[in-house]
Every structure is written in C-alpha cells, then in structure tokens.
Amino acid sequence: MNIVACVKQVPDTEAFIKVKPDGSGIEEGNIKWVMNPYDEYGVEEALKLKEAKGGEVTVVSLGPARAMETIRTALAMGADKGVHITIDDADAYNTAAALAAAMKDINPDIVFCGQRAIDDDSGQVGSVLAELLGMPQVTIITGFEVDGDKVKAVKPIEGAQLVVESAMPCVVTAQKGLNEPRYASLPGIMKAKKKPVDVKDAAALGLSVEPKAKIVRMTPPPERAPGKIIEGDDPAAKASELVKLLREEAKVI
C-alpha cells in the first residue's frame, strides 16, 4: 500500500509567541520547533497501517530548510522516505497545491494529515489537498481501519460520534485520541539519517506563492480588563459573593 503522511514543523505548544513590532509576523529567534502534534497522530496511523497491510510510508513536508528536522523525526519513527518542498511560507490553498504536486508521482492509496497545524490553526490543508487530488475525505477522526478497499473512520461531532465509510484512495485528518504516537528509537534515529529525502523547490514545481488568504497584520492578543479577586477567610462568604456577582453583575446565571 502506498501511504503518505503530511507533516508540518511548528513552534512547541509551550513556546512564547512574540509578534514583530511591525506586525509582519512572529519573532522566530527562541522558538523550539517540533512536529505538529496532530501530524504525529497521522504518522503513527500511517505506520500502523503499513505494519498491518505492508507497503511504504512517504512523509511529505512543506517549509523552510529547518523543516527537514521534522521529516527526519518521522523517518526515525519508521517512515521510509521523505519529500521536502522548500518554501518560506504559504497559505492553505498554496500549501495543498504544493503537496498535491509533490504527490503526483507517489499515487497514494491513502493520505494522512493532522486535522490542523497548531501555528496558523487554519485546519484547511487536508480538505483542499483531497479536493485537488480528486479524493474523498474524512476529517478530524479518532478511529481508523481499512476494511477491504474501504476506510472506516470514527468522527466525533457535537454530542455524538459518526462512523463514516470512504472509498480509497482518500485523505483523512487525525484528531487527538486516534492513537498514541510512538517515540523514535535510537536505532530508528540512526537509520533515519540514511533514508532518502527528495528536496524540491516550490518555485521549480511551478507553484504560485501569491496567497489567496493574506495576513495583512499580526497583533498580540487583546488584553482582558483586570478581574476582581474575592477576598476573605470564609469559603461560604466568598462563594456567596461570587454567585451574587455572576447573577447581578455578569448576569450569566
């Protein structure tokens, strides 16, 4: 089976994000970069599928030179080869177009993506990629199995969960709960260094860098007005005061 996992390198969840003074982006100086956590679930599911059904896992990533570290992490987890499309930044549509172009020669039976990247938080790439590849999609899934030539996926929705069947080839996007991603073993890390990674330049692939969704400015989050600390020694009195404030001032209960 031809399995593809898309990965993105993002700032660690603990990273302190500082907007550049001119609002053009974020300061990248002190950021620790990691694989997008949702992509880890995708890579893990890809590896499990390979272990069950055989085949090959190709990991594809779009990003600047440092994104190679994330590709190597996926290779160390057990992926077989990588494709690195070098580009500084791209919006969701252009990212998906680049991934689709890179997958032309791979002919995937299934593509795993994270349900969203925790940097731009857009959650669009998997679906746009599916459209551009002409494949069906099941997004934000917490359960996955291949049954013959079909995929069966569990998808939580508000107040319920669905079991959705899709023809293959297809694109699925991984949500937390799908699996427990493995750690790269030391032999895995050694082996990863020798695995092939095909580096392609986005411009050479003939891809547009003109965004369809353009960030005109970034700003720090709005400050919340300072709150009120309810002082006192008696828990019952403090609780009563809180309930009174919620009822009379905030009017939310």
Binding site: I118, G159, Q161, E165, K212, V216, K238
Partner: protein, 324 residues
Amino acid sequence: MAKGVWIVAEHRNGALRNVSFEVASVARKLADELGEDVCAVLVGSGVEGFAPELGKYGVDKIYVADDAMFADYTTDAYSAAVAKVVKENDASILLLASSVQGKDLSSRLVGKLATGMASDCTEVKIADGKLLAIRPMYAGKCFGEIVMESYPQMASLRPKVFPIVESAKAGEVVKFDAGIAADALKTKVLETQKDASGKVDLTEADIIVSGGRGMKGADEYKVIEELADLLGAAVGASRAAVDAGWRPQSDQVGQTGKVVSPNLYIACGISGAIQHIAGMSSSKYIVAINKDSEAPIFAKADYGIVDDLFKIVPEVTAAAKKIL
C-alpha cells in the same frame, strides 16, 4: 462582478442549528454595510419546511437543495451542491460556522472554489469594500488580520462568539438542483452513535465548569458535576486531567482539545497553562478558583477566588441553589 453575502445554513435532526443564526446575523450586518443581499444555501433532506426561518435573522433568499441523497451530511455531496450554487451566482463573501461540520465543509469549499478563507474568526468587518477577518493564531497567542485575494472571500466563524440578531427579511425560498449523481458519492455515514449521557456538548454549552490538575482524581469531579448539573452546564477538563485518565478526551478544552466560547467558564484547579487558555479565552466571563495565587489563570479571570477548590466549589453550589 462578485456580489452578495452568502452563508451555508447548518441543520440537524430536523431543525436549523443556532450557529446558522449566528452566521446569518453577521452576514446581515456585512450586507447592510455593502448595500447587498444575504443569501443562504440549505442542503438536506426534508429541510424546505424550516428554510424560511432564516428570514427572521436577515436572510433575503434561501437556495434549497432538498433530496434524499442529502439525508446525512457527507463532504462530497454537500460541498458539490454548495459550490455549484455559489459559483453560479458569483458570491462575493461566503460565511460558515466553524462547527465540526462547518470546518469540514468550508475547507473543502476552499479547494472547490480555489479561494482563500480565514478560519475560526472571532471578528469580521468590511474595510475598503472588502472582507477583513480577525482570528486567533498560535492558539490565541497572537491574532491575524486576514484579507482574501480571491472570490468568494470566505470566513468561518467561531461558534457562540457572535450574537444572534433578529432582523426580518423576506426569506424567499428558491429551489435548486445540485446536479449530483448519487453513484458519484464516495463517502457515507454508516452509524450515528448519540452521546448516551444526553449532556450538552462543550462547544454548545452556555456555561462550562472545568477541572484541572488540582482535582487530584477522577472521583473528585463529583463536586464539579454537582455544580454543573445545578447550572445546566457542561463539564470540561484540562489536558493534565485528561492525560491522567480522570476525564475522557472529549472533555478536553485547549490547544489540543476543544475551543469553547461559553457565557461563563468556571476554571477549578486549573493553573492556566497557555495550551488551556487557547481553548477558552474567548469565553465571555471567566471565573478562576485555585489555591495558588500566582496561577496564570487569574490574569484571564473576571472573578477569582484564591482558595482550595474543594472548600469553595461545594459552597458555590449551595449558594447558587438558594437563588436558582
């Protein structure tokens, strides 16, 4: 030239969902500024009857595709239907809710319509005749202002952030044929498993009572559940509590959990790590109950009590009982 503010209306179990009214209300406001109409697309089976209700929230015209093949939401069927009617009418702006269905449908439409979208926006406005969308990025550690350089200009709106505003318009129903061959569809819903608890989903709750590491164990959530039951609230949890196995994944609020915007969020024994704040900072009122006066959650809270949650929460329940 592209014209009109369009929305996709979402429905479930034979009724429009509240998020549809939120999105319609926003669309009306934008359309009034532009001097244009609001059009809605409603795709489903047996939906024509409740379509006119959208008129109450400012929708001029509702394009309805009513067919048995739309009985369950599937990406391929719904996205094909919406893309067809939006393209034919050359929509200028297209808004959806950033609900579970809206996330799936809107992002597929970005591909189908080859356009740009600002996801999960918390503010949208018209600037220089174009849509300007404002949205949290990096889990709310910063915000981005986005303009679309292609049409339709798409945005998905975070549920429960935008108020529902009534504004009576014609709500004229126009039926359209989506022109989809049923055998071209590649996905289907095999099963819908309803949440047996019957509790309101976190993303739809007006009030959430949430517990974190300070809860110390699964059984201790009883104090939270009692308060939640009394207030008609949903119970949430921090990542620490979920990773400890005290609460299910579906309860997790935060960067790798759910993003919620209730009217009231009561954080009990939650320190307020940045991953957690990401999931609840758009709540209208935030209450923090935590022993540690230095906990970062207090910087986000409208009301705070520095004390042991096991002393305070039962007293809050008792005090609320007296007035509710």
